[in-house]
């Protein structure tokens, strides 16, 4: 057990995966000598050489498209997209190619490609640097979409993603990069497709992923002081969603709030609300309430505290579901 930042945990997880399998490649914009703009790949090129860790031309479709070709050749590519808002030039290669090639090959070809994307707000950055694009990828059959909330999960989930035979969109909550946490390099928390109850409670279930999880835990503390017992679920896998864990919690508390940074319209939170309504209708005491980004572009950074879910907005949502 050691204490490290999520950034360091990701770096160590990548290092472990590259050491375990020499078919693992790491590439993207500035990931070599610089170690990436967030330094997640720092030192990897020095350790594994410029063939296994390399800088690419600044072309996202090219990064993902060549990753597909390398996977066809037998490699396990891990590519970094520099920021959430920069993934869209690669959208065609991800959604029409990467996600569908195993289906098209009727199982004769696996696509073990990991696309790492730093995502989400809370860092006061300029346009296209604070977005949460998970719903686009969760909506695409053939992809797995995961997001760790802690350093410990980051260390293990990046390795699980790399060893997955399926393509994985690996969303890194960049506002959590520099938060320290305990990392047990001997044992993972749970398989990456499982949601985890990170705090048990009786009155209301809060569900979130990535940077939302620490906020939900903070909210739970405050609500507890005010007399409401709160269960918190770290979703971890956005696609597929671990319905068993979510439904069991919803049935136990009868009240659910989902928090996410992405706009609420046609979002992961919408899917959770709809499915819990289908599967836990008779035990729900209140409608599932979503706390989301608004249905606007991510606003200029000075406005992000009003745009993003906050402790107060989530507490307000708890009040609303408790009123039923």
């Amino acid at each position: 057990m050691s204490t490290m930042t999520m950034a360091k945990a990701l770096n160590e997880g990548l290092r472990a995966a590259m050491a375990a399998d020499d078919k693992v490649l790491m590439f993207g914009e500035e990931v070599g000598q610089l170690g990436g703009v967030f330094r997640i790949t720092e030192g990897l090129q020095r350790e594994f050489g410029p063939t296994r860790v390399y800088d690419t031309p600044l072309a996202e479709s090219g990064i993902v498209g060549t990753a597909i070709g390398l996977a066809m050749r037998g490699y396990r590519p891990v590519c970094e997209i520099q920021f959430d808002g920069f993934v869209f030039p690669a959208f065609d290669q991800i959604t029409t190619q990467l996600a569908k090639l195993t289906y098209r090959h009727e199982g004769a070809l696996s696509m073990p490609v990991v696309i790492r994307i730093p995502y989400g707000g809370h860092i006061g950055a300029v346009e296209h640097h604070q977005e949460s694009p998970e719903a686009y990828f969760a909506h695409t059959p053939g992809l797995r979409v995961v997001s760790p909330a802690t350093a410990h999960d980051a260390y293990w989930m990046i390795q699980d993603s790399i060893s997955s035979p399926d393509p994985v969109i690996f969303l890194e909550p960049k506002s959590r990069y520099w938060q320290k946490g305990e990392v047990d390099t001997a044992a993972r928390q749970a398989p990456m497709e499982r949601a985890v109850v990170v705090r048990e409670g009786n009155d209301v279930t809060l569900i979130g992923h990535g940077a939302m999880v620490s906020m939900l835990l903070q909210v739970a503390e405050i609500a507890e002081e005010e007399g409401t017992s709160v269960e918190v679920i770290d979703l971890r896998s956005v696609s597929p969603i671990d319905w068993d864990t979510l439904v069991a919690s919803a049935q136990s508390t009868g009240r659910v709030v989902v928090a996410q940074e992405a706009p609420g319209n046609a979002s992961v939170g919408s899917e959770i609300a709809a499915t819990l309504a289908e599967r836990a209708f008779y035990t729900l005491e209140a409608p599932v309430v979503r706390v989301s980004g608004f249905d606007t572009p991510f606003p200029p950074a000075q406005l992000e505290s009003s745009y993003l879910p906050s402790v107060d907005r989530i507490l307000d949502a708890i009040d609303r579901v408790m009123a039923y």
């Binding site: 690419t56 479709s61 090959h105």
Partner: protein
């Protein structure tokens, strides 16, 4: 519309052999073709065209959602495909039926895609490293480039052993040259000196959009902007297609980086069976290209070399036989069970899809009438 003066040609439209100092190296490569190989070229072009036309007919009779004809483009396909080596990997677009045949993919397997039975049709590893057709224009150029980069990382090129060193060849059309992926693939291929040949079949029409809308400069010159050696050839001449591709594939596999070939050819038929080329092309242009048909000129060439009428008759007979078998086999292709919807979406188990598959099976079973007592 005269053929570009830049286009290299060994076999003239009248079946005679072109000469010139600039052609000597290519002529020497073409001269290595045995009579058996020359016959295979002819046979492949004739039989593929017959099957291709039959597939179009079957589509008109409602047996396929769509057919994508390759008529007119057989020469550049057959020549370039025969120039590849067994260890090479081929990334087609979706009209490379002659190449498919030469690498072990049958027309029937291609028809499965067009008949709505599969989105693939074959396993490239078991079919001459011939990858699946890609319908999104130019996406395959990046896959081919990544694959070629992998060849480089593996040290599987540049050893000097032409029978072992690997290369890839990727096919795309004039419409695809405007797609960003084509350009990004050339950037990556050149940056990493990947062993790849870009093979552009310029058939002059992207559905109804003429090539002048894609580019006002000859397309092969674009590659030079990336520092990639490029050449333009008469794509209806199988000999120059063979010779230039052989030369360039061996350059690529020997560690000289990417190469680019533009083959000038013509789509004699429609883009697909959903298209009506009479709305945008004139008779004069069709006539120009009909006079430059690859099969006619190659037959004259083979006749001049002493190949007998019996040979040509035997090929025609083979084509008739294959067409007859093909029609029978297409009509016998049955729809897959609905459980196929859920198969191979992922390589590892996916609980939510398993639940959906089980639900659909139960739902559909509920409609099947119970068998009565016998």
């Amino acid at each position: 519309m005269p053929l570009s003066p830049d286009a290299l040609q060994l076999l003239r439209p009248d079946g005679s052999i072109a000469t010139g100092d600039h052609l000597q190296a290519y002529q020497a490569i073409a001269d290595t073709l045995s009579d058996d190989q020359l016959q295979l070229m002819y046979r492949t072009m004739v039989v593929t065209r017959a099957l291709d036309l039959e597939a179009g007919t079957l589509q008109r009779q409602g047996q396929m959602a769509l057919w994508v004809p390759s008529v007119g483009q057989e020469a550049c396909q057959v020549g370039s495909a025969l120039a590849t080596r067994a260890q090479d990997t081929i990334f087609p677009a979706y009209r490379e039926h002659s190449i498919a045949r030469l690498r072990g993919v049958s027309m029937l397997q291609i028809v499965k895609l067009m008949r709505g039975l599969t989105h693939g049709g074959w396993d490239p590893k078991e079919h001459g490293n011939f990858h699946l057709y890609t319908l999104v224009l130019s996406a395959q150029t990046l896959h081919a480039t990544g694959y070629a980069m992998g060849i480089g990382f593996d040290g599987a090129a540049g050893s000097g052993d032409l029978d072992k060193d690997e290369a890839t060849i990727v096919y795309f059309g004039d419409g695809s040259t405007s797609e960003g992926d084509t350009h990004e693939s050339m950037v990556f291929a050149q940056s990493y000196q990947a062993p790849i040949v870009f093979f552009l079949q310029n058939n002059h029409w992207a559905i109804s959009t003429p090539v002048r809308v894609q580019s006002r400069t000859p397309l092969y010159l674009r590659a030079t902007g990336y520092g990639i050696p490029s050449v333009q050839i008469d794509g209806n001449d199988p000999l120059i297609s063979y010779a230039v591709t052989k030369h360039n594939m061996d350059r690529a596999r020997s560690g000289h980086g990417p190469q680019f070939i533009e083959a000038l050819t013509y789509r004699m038929g429609a883009h697909t069976t959903s298209d009506d080329p009479t709305k945008y092309r004139d008779e004069e242009e069709l006539q120009f290209w009909a006079e430059r048909d690859p099969i006619g000129r190659f037959r004259v060439f083979l006749g001049n070399r002493g190949h007998s009428e019996e040979f040509f008759d035997e090929v025609d007979e083979q084509a008739r036989d294959e067409v007859s078998d093909f029609r029978r086999d297409v009509l016998a292709l049955l729809a897959p069970p609905s459980s196929k919807i859920f198969e191979h979406v992922y390589s590892s188990p996916h609980k939510n899809l398993e639940e959906q598959a089980a639900w659909l099976a139960e739902f559909e079973d509920s409609f099947i009438p119970k068998e009565g007592p016998t």
